[in-house]
């Protein structure tokens, strides 16, 4: 039996995409700073790509573990993976925008910061550019302090007294970036070679890894190989429906091992590249796993929600509360795992109180206090209490409520990873943010459900599909 994307569902999804367009138009009309729009694009690009990637990860894990229980709904994560090329393109657009200085999301891509020697005329030209940007940003958002308009994570020259409480003497070992130095060299000849006052020692020290050619090569390799495996798994799985032998299943099983090894490494490096390098001075060794845990729980929640959607629309009669119970356990368990990593990261930084590490949380505490606390409540305490009991995990209504909250909560989590490093205090959750979230959700939903309608819902020759229908816990 095939899933049909009904007119009704399609209209809802297109309506959500329309809301995204409305949000964007509103942002341009209201003159919202370009950096904030780009940052939103990155948040949604990452968030939904993560969900798609988690779909492929789920398929690979089920193959590698030879799991039987999930065979009945494996077309759902397979279809989710089909969004990877779309989401990857969105990410690449933001990355390219940064490389061509259309946005300043990835601040370290500014080559001038890693140039040790410069000339007086180059310095002058660079600082005129800075002033131009600052004026531009001020024009767009009069309320924002001009220096913050760049969204660079420069140390605040005008740090508030409250900030000093946490980071006494918190000066990075680099010059304050938005101070202008050209005036010091009025008498020098334009071609005189001088030490670059904007030279950023920390970013320069990381340039062996964080440099544009290597960065883009990595991004393309990650996406290409993830997409290749997604395509490979689905192609073999669909071919298996027609052929009915186990050769293709074995091929997928072998491939899943390679994918998992590749994913284990790239899920971390991808998080460093695309998320952590938004704050290029800061680093955390478990950041990759933190991003991974959020990605995994969102993906599992999406699988649950789509399966429930299919069940409520009369498909998936073979999926009963036993399968939902296992998915619910996954949602519960990985939510706790996420909280475990969140705490592990925060606890050590909070305890040690080292200025260069603690700035990350200081930014969030000073400017994002309510959202930052809400993140933990929504993504840990809520699913922990709601999904704890067995009955809740076997009940579709509970799973839908918890699932929607988890999806929104982890969007907020990604938002909190990106925004403080890109727009500092100039954030907001308004029509732009909500519209773009809805728009991308609609796009993701359309791509996924459309892919789902293209293939039979049950992989009938999958060796475990019978076992899955007898799953009982």
């Amino acid at each position: 039996m095939n899933y049909t994307l009904t007119k009704n569902t399609r209209n809802i999804l297109f309506g959500m995409m329309g809301l995204g367009v409305v949000g964007l138009i509103y942002a341009f009309v209201a003159g919202i700073e370009g950096q904030r729009i780009w940052a939103n694009l990155l948040v949604n690009g990452l968030f939904f790509t993560f969900i798609a990637l988690a779909g492929t990860l789920f398929v690979a894990i089920q193959y590698a573990a030879e799991a039987g229980w999930s065979a009945g709904f494996k077309r759902v994560p397979e279809a989710m993976g089909q969004y990877l090329p779309v989401g990857g393109l969105v990410i690449l657009v933001v990355l390219a925008g940064s490389a061509f200085h259309v946005n300043h999301i990835y601040h370290w891509m500014d080559d001038y910061l890693t140039t040790e020697k410069t000339t007086v005329q180059d310095l002058r030209a660079y600082e005129e550019g800075l002033q131009h940007h600052a004026a531009h940003a001020e024009h767009h958002d009069a309320a924002a302090p001009a220096a913050e308009g760049h969204g660079h994570d420069a140390p605040h020259a005008e740090a508030t007294p409250a900030a000093d409480k946490y980071v006494s003497e918190a000066k990075f070992p680099v010059g304050p970036e938005h101070d202008l130095y050209a005036a010091n060299y009025e008498k020098a000849a334009p071609t005189d070679s001088i030490a670059n006052p904007h030279f950023d020692e920390i970013i320069a020290g990381k340039s062996g890894y964080l440099n544009k050619p290597f960065f883009f090569a990595r991004a393309i390799i990650y996406l290409a190989i993830w997409i290749f495996f997604t395509w490979f798994f689905r192609k073999r799985s669909l071919a298996e429906d027609l052929a009915g032998d186990e050769v293709k299943h074995k091929k997928n099983m072998n491939a899943s091992g390679w994918f998992l090894v590749f994913f284990a490494v790239t899920s971390s490096t991808m998080a460093w590249d695309w998320v952590m390098s938004v704050d290029p001075h800061w680093f955390s060794t478990l950041f990759g796993w933190y991003v991974f845990s959020g990605m995994f729980v969102t993906g599992l929640t999406m699988i649950t929600l789509i399966s429930i959607h299919l069940k409520r629309n009369g498909y998936f009669q073979h999926i009963n509360e036993n399968h939902l119970h296992d998915l619910g356990k996954f949602m519960f368990g990985v939510s706790v795992f996420w909280a475990y990593l969140w705490t592990s990261q925060f606890l050590l930084i909070w305890y040690a109180n080292i200025p260069e590490e603690v700035t990350y949380f200081q930014d969030r505490w000073e400017n994002y206090k309510v959202l930052w606390v809400a993140n933990l409540v929504i993504n840990f305490i809520f699913p922990f209490l709601v999904l704890m009991s067995r009955d809740a995990k076997r009940n579709m209504a509970y799973l839908v409520v918890a699932g929607v909250v988890i999806i929104c909560g982890h969007w907020l989590d990604v938002y909190l990873m990106i925004m403080p490093g890109t727009v500092k205090a100039n954030y907001g959750i308004g029509l732009l943010e909500i519209g773009m979230f809805a728009g991308f959700a609609g796009l993701f939903g359309y791509v996924t459900l459309n892919a789902l309608s293209k293939a039979p819902l049950v992989a009938k020759n999958h060796p475990f599909v019978d076992e899955a229908s007898h799953h009982h816990i």
């Binding site: 705490t343 925060f346 606890l347 909070w350 305890y351 040690a352 109180n353 704890m388 009991s389 009982h472």
Partner: protein, 176 residues
């Protein structure tokens, strides 16, 4: 009519399960089943209610968390305010981050030990306890159904004939 206990011995758990289903559908109440391993799906057939151990686990966990917080509040906030990492915050909620590992450990400790002890007590498993097992073979490769005539309207003879017709390899009877 004297009360009797009837034991039916099976050499396959699938046959036992089928037999139990058959007898229960005819109104026989089964007292208990003895097996060397858990038989999947037997609980609802013989009317064993779902365990409430999970609820107890939550309560034990909550007690553990409360004890942990009380202990840390008394030791590190009230009795001897602790300066953590040079941070001038001596309120419980401000130092909570430092207390997370202990809170977690105490919650798990109390929940786990509480559950294990409850399980052992509820199942009468403690030192000096005499085994309830009617036949040692059920700890090896045989499976046994126990039916008490006191629970049933049917006579011992009827029950015995039902057992033998559904595949029991040996049927014994003793006075209750």
């Amino acid at each position: 009519m004297s009360n009797k206990v009837i034991y039916g011995l099976f050499d396959d758990e699938e046959i036992l399960l089928k037999s139990a289903k058959d007898m229960v559908s005819k109104g026989v109440r089964i007292k208990d089943v003895f097996s060397p391993f858990p038989i999947h799906g037997i609980d609802p057939v013989i009317g064993v209610p779902r365990t409430r151990l999970a609820i107890m686990s939550f309560i034990y966990g909550a007690i553990g968390l409360s004890l942990a917080w009380l202990m840390m509040w008394y030791m590190n906030i009230s009795d001897w305010p602790l300066d953590i990492g040079g941070k001038p915050s001596q309120a419980f909620y401000m130092n909570l981050t430092a207390f997370i590992p202990v809170s977690f450990e105490m919650t798990v400790f109390c929940a786990a030990h509480g559950m294990a002890l409850t399980y052992l007590i509820v199942n009468s498993l403690y030192p000096g306890q005499q085994p309830h097992n009617p036949d040692n073979r059920t700890t090896d490769d045989k499976f046994m159904v126990q039916i008490n005539t006191a629970d049933n309207k049917k006579t011992a003879e009827e029950i015995k004939s039902m057992l033998s017709s559904t595949g029991a390899i040996e049927i014994t009877e003793k006075e209750a």
